[in-house]
Symmetry: C2
Subunit: 384 residues, 2 copies
């Protein structure tokens, strides 16, 4: 990148700072000469920028190591201080709350999950989450004041300000000002996202979708939801409701998935994942009623996924949501999509499994911090 | 916009030229002083740029008019020459081919349509189109060499190079290298687009969707298709197949629309729009069989539209496709979407009707030319 020779000096400093930080972050450590070469900035500019970054705590001089043994004074080396701040990725689900902690490079330093009853009121659910976060920070020896951003993934339609507009999965969740509530526990920005959206981001970051920018992630619960990346960017929809495909089965007045998957005349509880896992297990063992139930469920899922695929035309569909049992849906899905979609996408199973939502929330927190550190006039200069 | 003071001089010239052209296009005509004030460029720079644009034929000195009566020498005034080039928007449909001609401001100068048999082979269909274009240019007195870009809307999945990957609506259309075929008739770029996509662009430009950037246009034929704008940009999908929702009804093995809408035991011909209009007319007159048929058809359409809405969450759904009869579907659609969608969109009828596809094709041609005239390093500086 060439050096700019005019314009607003504070903007220039920010640009040059972002460029140097990006160059440093891409290597273990580098000399001023190396930074000068990679960035195309002048030596005095690089020296000034590095000095400022050291003062801000984001860069540190690396220990001399082998260099001291060589003749003459070894060149000073500098590195990005990924430990200068920390990030949290949180999941608030029907059965559990989970937290992931990382440094500014997104390297995961620890994880903590707690079970929570699906009938738990909002206060109790948030208390469990706060407990998990406190334990995680204590175990990792990270001060709360070191947190730079917190991402949260949870079921429902989430407004831009972090309010849950609608959520049928969790008690007292609709209307909850979740972002504001959690902001009381953290002094850094809190970013709330729909759980399927967060999972889509996670699979794109380090899961089944690292090779594509056009992916639909299907959270194949009893009320399926989906998150979509278009051109690598999350597609939230005009009102944050994109991908809420679970309502489609209401239209045909057909049976709901909890009835479809039941092997008795009683429907399953919509959130009873263990009962679902048992039906899948029974089906694998050859139980006729369970096999028929799984067959009905797969037909329903195929229909919902086909609707998403026909509307969006992704390169890849990732199926996730239940830890076990879902691998059986891949082949039927592939077959049916190939029959009915004009251009069938690839279909893959989630790689991240139950870690997907918290991982995606962490990535969203990292995106936020990277925008602050590396952004030039709203444009992120680089994504790792 | 401030003046740049360094860098590549030819890039600078292009930027300054785009800035001046944009300023001129936004007014009837302007003096050098006015251009200098609006653009923030220096007087000598503006003089040089305007000189270059006059040489290129894109700008002309306006006649003196009232100015001559004032004392002293009147200031010279300049205007954008919208007549310096022309654009075509073409529709190639099952029953007709249509062409729209405009100047570089997108002002429509003439239109020409010709009927074509739905069974006509590709060569015959293209001949009819060429005939319509030749008539239109002759009537408008516009030379073929004046054309700067041609947009085309047609049913099917269209590749980026203008090849029709798949089209079930038109004979011999699948696999046709449509862009290449039409390029033989024109010396300017030919841009081929799916018809529903083109219609979505048209309604956004000058139809029912001018107020929103997140819209789904449903071409509600017997095999419905859809085009979507997300954030004002066309969402084509990874393989150009986004919105091909017509295949969804195949999944439930339910009756196809042509059977749904039939009032006899025989299905309608999939492309027989007149028969469809008759069924709608009979239903309005109270015919019981026709009313039941329309009811079945609306249920089907609601389901397909709901799938699109749940997947994409647009602000607005525009229903178009048939010239008559569709107004009856709006209320049922609104009711059903309100019941089943978590955040129901507004629903409106197409404003452009059967002109939508050609109008959208024209807008795509205009976009292409604007990118050439006003683009700075791939960024369009302004959209009208």
């Amino acid at each position: 990148m060439g050096q700019l020779t005019g314009g607003d000096p504070s903007l220039l400093r920010r640009i040059n700072s972002a460029v140097v930080l990006h160059a440093l972050r891409a290597t273990d450590c580098a000399t001023l000469t190396e930074i000068t070469r990679v960035t195309g900035l002048s030596r005095p500019t690089v020296e000034g920028v590095v000095e400022g970054l050291i003062e801000g705590g984001l860069v540190v001089e690396a220990a001399a190591e082998d260099g001291a043994r060589r003749q003459g004074r070894p060149a000073r080396r500098f590195r990005f201080r990924a430990e200068a701040g920390h990030l949290l990725g949180l999941e608030i689900g029907p059965h559990r709350v989970a937290a992931l902690l990382s440094d500014l490079d997104g390297r995961v330093l620890g994880a903590q999950a707690k079970e929570v009853d699906e009938t738990a009121p909002a206060d109790e659910r948030l208390d469990r989450l706060r407990g998990a976060v406190a334990e995680l920070l204590r175990r990792a020896g990270v001060a709360r004041s070191s947190l730079r951003a917190v991402g949260v993934g949870t079921p429902g339609i989430v407004e831009a300000d972090g309010t849950v507009r609608l959520s049928t999965a969790l008690p007292q969740w609709t209307g909850l000002r979740l972002g504001e509530r959690l902001s009381r526990s953290f002094r850094c920005p809190v970013l709330v996202e729909n759980d399927a959206n967060a999972a889509a981001v996670a699979e794109h970051w380090k899961g089944a979708a690292t090779e594509t920018d056009d992916v639909v992630f299907v959270l194949a619960g009893l009320s399926p939801g989906a998150g979509s990346l278009i051109g690598g960017r999350l597609h939230r929809g005009y009102g944050g409701a994109a991908g809420e495909i679970g309502a489609l089965h209401l239209l045909g007045r057909e049976a709901k998935p909890e009835a479809l998957l039941s092997t008795t005349d009683e429907p399953l509880h919509p959130l009873d994942e263990q009962a679902v896992a048992e039906v899948f297990a029974l089906a694998r063992e050859g139980d006729q009623r369970a096999r028929a139930a799984v067959e009905r469920f797969i037909q329903r899922l195929v229909h919902d996924v086909a609707a998403l695929v026909l509307a969006l035309d992704p390169e890849l569909v990732v199926i996730g949501g239940w830890a076990a049992g879902l691998d059986g849906v891949l082949e039927p899905l592939r077959c049916e999509l190939a029959r009915y979609c004009l251009r069938p996408p690839r279909v893959a199973l989630s790689v991240l499994g139950e870690a997907a939502v918290a991982t995606g929330a962490l990535r969203l927190a990292l995106d936020h911090v990277e925008e602050q550190l590396f952004a030039v006039d709203g444009t992120v200069t680089a994504r790792r």
